[in-house]
Symmetry: C2
Subunit: 339 residues, 2 copies
């Protein structure tokens, strides 16, 4: 059986059209998601319940002819597995308990995948139900992004984390090293369970100078990819350093990923330059998807025109906004797929 | 008498070291500023008082061997001059009254410089007191950035402004057209009063797709530069589209500015590419200036090493943070100037 379209496109096999999926395609815009979320009682209950999480992952693929389902989970499941308790306050986002010592977390790296086994089961369930030409994407947070939550105990103030990066470089590097190893093992487990591509979500890659970006983002990603290959993982890895389009050339050259995710600010020229060495993914503005109309159609056509001649996965430059009309998602996917 | 070092460097005359100044070098980090600010009673009183504003502009040049003084003013003086009242709430930033109609503001464009005459007087006073080798820089806000404040009535939520850009493109374009003309006249007046370089602060250039960035940022800047030249202004123009390093190539090619300001994320390669056609300015991380120490020294050396061979103005990638130790500013300026 041949690989899904998304995987073939990443490998560079010519496609009649780019594969398409959307970050946060599973989630609040769908009433069937909101119903399951209410049933689960809490976000963590939903993420840790393989049957429900698989259903949430599959929901958008039933409505739209997406070329991939991404596993419904959260980047903070990993610190939870390393012993830093995570929960979600209604309307306020994630909260984390005290961060364990580096040594305590190092010990947990060996057994974290037991805690995360239910995510593997979610992957298996999605893979079993999804059509063969559609890919299952596993994911984890980038170590720097996850570290910003772990250090702060919540989301929000990344300036504080960046200050920490300047003030306590050695402690931060030790934390990143633990996260790299745990992330690689977690992603390898997802592939064993059936994931056919992996994405590293480095959501807070913005506002970093070149040398700091290399230390906090590019090198840890390269280490994850290297560990994945050592662990026998052969599937393509998508790296998404959000907010770092200005350092995408350096990232593509150093991170060892197969695909570079681009945010909304990526220029046509940047994408074409990157396509000489890697595949690219992105970069439709979620605000435009939300706005819809002829401007959305025109931008979709433009993105395909400028990048469709090379290795390109159509996607957003950030996640679907919660108040996006479902019909706009349908319209956009139809525009790309012709269906 | 020869031009100041900053102007000669922009023209490409070889310099023993790059000229240096810092965005927000005049302001809260200096106790002598805080004293004057308290005496003035309000931010607007200070900005509209030529004697005090000139003093504030000159304060950092007395402490540090900066190569330029930037006029102490605010980007919101222009909407104030166009009939949209502006004031500052303590600890909360700017507030703006109802936005007048486009027609009402168009009528005011002719007379706005009368309202802003005191800023011209500030420029004259600074030019009269500053040593000839140090430049006086005038400035205005970028039309898009100013428009985001005018539409919203305050700072903060740029997502709302970006939504507006998609939802009401024609109204926004009309507003930008008025702002372009008013900005060019205002800047020309500053040059008549003695400014030897001009900077366009486009503080909210981030998160815009390439086509939207061209419409909201590059083209209005090009129109300002064109109008300035029509008005007989020959001084160099620095364009600073903050957060848009990933679109800096396109900006440099289209905006017609002499210098492109770079934020902290600009790569060495990007700067060198730009230096083939324009001068560049930036891009030290204000967080690193605040942190100080050997890491600051090393980064300064690196920036000069990577860009000092071409047309380069040493500066920050954003403004000086209010809690930056004064000794760090002194240390950084000394590192660049050797004094």
């Amino acid at each position: 059986m041949s690989d899904p379209r998304l995987v073939r496109a990443i490998r560079g096999e010519p496609q009649a059209r780019p594969p398409v999926w959307f970050m946060r395609q599973a989630g609040r815009i769908l009433p069937e998601y909101r119903a399951l979320r209410a049933e689960a009682g809490s976000f963590m209950n939903l993420a840790y319940n393989p049957k429900m999480a698989a259903e949430v992952s599959l929901q958008p693929t039933r409505r739209f002819p997406m070329d991939a389902a991404i596993i419904f989970a959260d980047i903070l499941l990993l610190p939870d597995a390393l012993g830093q308790k995570v929960w979600f306050e209604a309307g306020e986002g994630p909260r984390l308990g005290d961060m364990p010592s580096i040594e305590a977390m190092q010990e947990k790296v060996e057994t974290a995948n037991e805690h995360l086994a239910c995510i593997g089961e979610t992957v298996s369930r999605v893979r079993a139900e999804l059509e063969p030409d559609r890919a299952v994407i596993g994911f984890a947070g980038g170590p720097w992004t996850v570290a910003t939550y772990m250090l702060k105990g919540r989301g929000g103030d990344r300036e504080e984390a960046r200050r920490y990066a300047f003030a306590q470089p050695e402690e931060l590097d030790r934390l990143l090293t633990v996260l790299v190893e745990a992330t690689a093992r977690y992603m390898a487990m997802q592939v064993q369970a059936g994931a056919q591509a992996l994405q590293i979500f480095e959501s807070w890659a913005e506002l970093l100078p070149e040398d700091v970006f290399e230390r906090l983002v590019t090198r840890p990603h390269a280490a994850i990819v290297r560990r994945l290959r050592e662990l026998g993982v052969a599937v393509p890895v998508i790296g998404f350093p959000r907010g770092a389009a200005s350092l995408a050339d350096e990232y593509a050259a150093g991170a060892g990923v197969d695909v570079v995710g681009l945010d909304v600010t990526a220029s046509a020229a940047l994408g074409r330059r990157l396509q000489q060495t890697v595949a690219i993914q992105g970069a439709l503005d979620p605000l435009l998807l939300r706005a819809g109309g002829p401007a959305l159609d025109a931008r979709i056509d433009r993105l395909i025109e400028q990048w469709g001649g090379g290795r390109y996965i159509f996607n957003l430059g950030h996640g679907v906004l919660p108040d996006t009309p479902i019909e706009n998602v349908a319209r956009a996917v139809a525009r790309v797929t012709g269906r």
